[in-house]
């Protein structure tokens, strides 16, 4: 293993997710070469990580292991985890990011612990009152960014404007779209439709200076009518889960006994297409935007491909200096 000090380091929680080091380690190493512009630091139980690493690293890849003696249990309260598990992968890696030793943290472990550690250890960017979970949603027309996908279950109208500002920066830097448009997820198209939050947020978004597309209704969401879609964290998380569940729904249908032969035969390639283009693996994970650093929250069921994509996403955010650009959009 080579010296990694010269390049940015991406911290990877080796213990996170349903499959632990056996999936996370090879996933994170999948695209790593001796010439990669970043290094990987695995945080986790020394023996467990070393055993898997020995199988997967060739010679002088830019990889280090940061041994951790503690774990966060999936059911543990995030606040308790931050306080009582300083030597757990998530807390230790986030502390190291704050100290400048690593430049991003990826975990497929507890979402709550990742959000809490990011907020408490990294802190919020200047001007950002509420960091938000952002997820890339592949739609029929284009990838879009949905936020907040679950960090803030109750929001004020001005939070949705901040989500929109963060989303526009992301869409410009990560999607490469010069003039991203913003929509608000709502139950009607007209400005007056919706609840107190969406009607008030509509007015603020309309005068925000952003390119506001207006309200987006659920039946057009998956067509991808704009680049960024904002919602409160409850609505955004429910929406994300419904979209995720669509593939499960189709997979269940494929096994029903009221299908014709042609229908049965049709489901396999359609499901294959959705898996290839629309699974969470392709997106690589959710991102907490608005904190002073890079924080990637991978799906608990992450495969090696999903972890590999999370590493790519982390590197892109480091390379684009995304946190600084988000701060600038709020100044």
């Amino acid at each position: 293993m080579s010296e990694t000090s010269a390049r940015p380091v991406i911290a990877v929680d080796a213990m996170g997710g349903d499959h632990g080091p056996e999936t996370v380690v090879p996933g994170a190493l999948a695209n790593l070469t001796t010439d990669s512009p970043y290094a990987i630091a695995f945080y986790g139980r020394k023996d467990a990580v070393a055993a898997v690493l020995a199988e997967h690293t060739a010679t002088d890849l830019p990889v280090t292991v940061v041994p951790c003696t503690q774990d966060i249990a999936m059911g543990e309260s995030p606040a308790s985890a931050i306080r009582n598990r300083p030597d757990s992968p998530i807390v230790k890696a986030m502390t190291d990011q704050k100290a400048g030793k690593v430049q991003a943290v990826i975990s497929a472990g507890s979402t709550g612990a990742m959000v809490a550690a990011s907020l408490i250890v990294l802190g919020r960017l200047p001007g950002v009152d509420r960091p938000a979970i952002a997820t890339v949603i592949p739609t029929a027309r284009q990838d879009i960014l949905l936020l907040d996908a679950g960090a803030n279950v109750q929001c004020k109208p001005e939070h949705l404007v901040s989500f929109a500002r963060m989303g526009v920066v992301f869409a410009r830097e990560m999607f490469g779209r010069p003039a991203p448009t913003v929509g608000q997820l709502n139950i009607g198209g007209e400005p007056g439709k919706g609840n107190e939050l969406t009607t008030a947020a509509y007015a603020l978004l309309a005068e925000s200076g952003l390119d506001f597309h207006g309200n987006v209704e659920g039946n057009e969401f998956m067509l991808g009518p704009c680049d960024v879609v904002v919602a409160d964290g409850f609505t955004g998380n429910n929406t994300l889960k419904l979209v995720e569940g669509f593939a499960r729904f189709l997979a269940e249908l494929a096994g029903r006994d009221d299908l014709s032969d042609a229908e049965r035969a049709g489901f396999r390639p359609v499901l294959g297409f959705l898996q290839r283009k629309f699974s969470y693996e392709v997106a690589g994970g959710a991102m907490l935007l608005g904190v002073d650093g890079v924080s990637i929250i991978s799906h608990g069921r992450s495969s090696e491909a999903a972890i590999a994509n999370a590493v790519r996403v982390a590197w892109e955010q480091i390379h684009a200096e995304l946190p600084a650009r988000i701060a600038a959009a709020h100044s």
Copy 2:
């Protein structure tokens, strides 16, 4: 046209929906025979209805026409419509239901006007604080009832319990399920997950005496884990629209140029299956539950088949005396 006084009358807004009488009239007549246990009364412009009716009615079907001289425009505020359009199909039919001349009203016109007319003219059932829009959602496993699908964008916890009670009556009487289970749509499975509304409603549902399944997350919603799913009207409406949008999403995908030949061939039968089993046409429309009568709100895009199903649904609710049973469940 025969005398209809002996049997229950279903009032149909002949002018409602994107296609007006040319679709509504034949749709409503599709399953009507001289021996049908119900009669149909078309409400609308006399000439417009008579012209279509002349093409479609044979001899002595139990059909009448109630001429209306006014219309409700799609953009008109519901309150204004109720006040200023007493001779519009929706308001006149609802007034006739209140007077006992008809036993149900179906409209594919303005949802807002249907909800307002039902609330103001029919009134709420004893014990029901908030009538709710209920929709049948066909899922992978079974039909389920989602409510509120949009009547109440802001709810209190006790409203969700009332929605659950109404839904259980519906599932027992209309689905024929002896012991319906209730779930709450939420962004986490555990009781403490969600927002203020869902955490408080969880506690009330758990001690309601209903068979409470617990929280249902979006990714399992379309698998049909329980018979009734409750949510506030904003969340329910967003969920309904996302589900409706899946078919549009798949139809868009079917036209993409990054499909393999096998994938392209697969989409057609899959879309056909979804259209056959899962389109809104099969369900026949949304229903406002909790008012003192039968109020069926059909989709604006309703086809003849959708209207035919709405008539079936209206008749089933009349036959089962659904409003009285809902009132009993709140006493």
